[in-house]
């Protein structure tokens, strides 16, 4: 981003900067320098849109009160006049924006069947990686996104109800603790925002996806594999194919809105299970893990 662009975005954020992110249009209003700095560092200026568009989420990041600007400074997330979360320490303002936006999507976008998962694509076919925190999902996702796989999302599989295709929702990848160093050491071109310490998730830093992944956000992908990764120190790579029944249960437990969708949720999980292969992946070495993903992709190409 040129300094002109970032100055212009900073200025617009005083009254609400409008931009497109994945299938959503957002307005972000804030004076917080942490948010302004991280945002201009981690999002491309090309996502800016006209104010006359339909805005899905009106977000404000602000101090809860004048007092909290100075005494034990705090920051709060406001969605269109409503503040759904308890305030956080002020230095966590950028992660708060990212987490708050995740919450907005997870609780509003029921036109999708949503899984908490990273999504990456090669040759039109996508890997869905649902996993609990600590499983190394984001590290793997970052590695893939810098090694020839197209990033669709680090957090959300947005699945179309009719076609089951995956809609990209490209956002900075949230790296935690040790994975921050691992990723920056392996990829000298990686742009990482400032590290925020002592959050509820430990130390957090966001990694900027390649600009080309941002610019391909209108291209959907077809789900093909669902991989459940597990990082285990010093382990040799081990993969095992899972039964469809096991896979379907895992899809359901990683869904944001299975219950909200009712019987439709069950049908969607079933249809997704039919077209996907499921694997458990235990790894410690990222190169070995990448070999596994590239072999998967090549095997589909051969058919």
């Amino acid at each position: 981003m040129t300094s002109n662009d970032s100055d212009s975005i900073r200025k617009q954020m005083q009254s609400g900067y409008v931009f497109k992110n994945g299938p959503f249009n957002l307005s972000l209003k804030t004076n917080e320098s942490n948010v302004l700095e991280s945002f201009t560092r981690l999002y491309p200026a090309s996502q800016s849109i006209s104010e006359s568009e339909f805005i899905d989420f009106h977000i404000t990041i602000q101090c809860p009160s004048v007092l909290r600007r100075f005494y034990r400074p705090q920051i709060q997330f406001v969605l269109d006049g409503i503040s759904p979360f308890k305030p956080l320490p002020r230095h966590e303002s950028f992660p708060l924006f990212e987490w708050g936006l995740n919450w907005c999507v997870a609780t509003h976008a029921h036109q999708y069947f949503m899984l908490h998962a990273a999504v990456l694509e090669k040759n039109g076919l996508a890997v869905i990686m649902p996993a609990p925190p600590g499983s190394g999902k984001s590290t793997l996702c970052a590695e893939m996104a810098f090694s020839g796989w197209r990033l669709l999302s680090d957090e959300f599989a947005l699945i179309n109800h009719d076609t089951l295709t995956l809609t990209p929702f490209v956002r900075p990848i949230s790296l935690k603790n040790a994975s921050i160093d691992i990723v920056t050491q392996r990829h000298s071109d990686a742009v990482v925002g400032s590290i925020v310490h002592n959050t509820s998730k430990g130390s957090v830093a966001h990694l900027r996806p390649l600009d080309k992944w941002f610019s391909r956000q209108d291209e959907t992908a077809i789900p093909k594999w669902v991989i459940f990764p597990r990082y285990q120190p010093a382990a040799k790579i081990a993969t095992s194919k899972l039964t469809k029944a096991h896979g379907m249960m895992n899809i359901i437990s990683n869904s944001f809105n299975y219950a909200e969708l009712g019987s439709l949720g069950f049908k969607l999980a079933e249809r997704l299970t039919e077209i996907c292969d499921f694997y458990d992946l235990t790894y410690s070495n990222l190169d070995e893990a990448m070999d596994f993903f590239n072999t998967l992709s090549a095997s589909a190409e051969g058919k």
Partner: protein, 367 residues
Amino acid sequence: MDVLLTQFLRYPAIAQNFSIKEWELLYRQSKSAQLTAAVWDLLQQFGLTDKAPPKAVNHFYSQTLLVQRQNAFIRFELEKVYKAIGRVEQNIILLKGAAYLLLDLPFAKSRRVADIDLLVSKSNLREVEKELMFYGWIKTKTDNYDDMYYREWMHEIPPLKHINRGSVLDVHHNILPVIAGKAPDARKLINQSIRLSNHPFCVLSPADIVLHSACHLFHEGEFEKGVRDLYDLHQLFNYYGNNEEQVSFWDELLDRAIDLKLTQPLFFAVRYSHLLFGTRIPQDILQKTQSLMANKVQVLIYDFLFTRIFVPHHPSTKNIGFSIARFFLYWRSHLIKMPLRILIPHLIKKSMKGFTEKKAKDNKIEV
């Protein structure tokens, strides 16, 4: 009043010519008023859904889905409630949302029911509470003062929340706080109640349903759901007032209000529903309820306050008139809820608690 949401509720056809930004505002205002599903329902009735931009459709669809899910949950919880207390209370009277839902009123399918409100006779209250606790509905306010406040002065016991499933029950023994001295004789309400044909519950008579809805709204101090609650009244008037089986509805309603001394809330209900939504109210009802009001100046003051408070509480509608109305209506609600000799110590006690305890904002999520 140039609020987009209320204009739309009154004249849905205006959506025909909405710009993208107007659709966005309609969604945002309806969401803050908890009327998204109702708006979507109206758009469907008027065949206007194809005028809505895809992004608006997504939001209305999502919110409607959530309402349907919640109401299915409420129906499930009602079965559990019956299982818990059907044995000790023969006449479990459902109030408000739960009643509209099981009565299958036309607007109930797009109206979100948050909590289950029940009315039981005061003599059965202890027994009912004991059984509910046995089945997992536990008091949420454990503080002794709060407990006393509810039991001695209010018309309900402290809210009960299910330990596993999280459903909330408000168990009433009257429809207005007893301390105010304006509460009707609850036996009169129970005597007129009607047994549902397809569920093991009762509901109030149509006139009492309306009066309760009006009491509830116009004794409230916080009007966050004000537009929604007034829209409920509009829908109830439409349903019962235009029903061929209920030809005597309006006369019964007025007689009942006089009998229960609830003519003031009824006056407010017909007046503001008519003003805001153009509800069809017979002319003589509008006149008679007004003639029962003390004086004209009072009516002018109330008009000033209520016309400003019945807006979605959304950043796009807040202005100075709104703030003034909110301030006065908040204090009015306290003054009519309890006499000053009780109100003043109560407010002091409450504010002291605010200083000594960290106020738990329990509805906020920790990230």
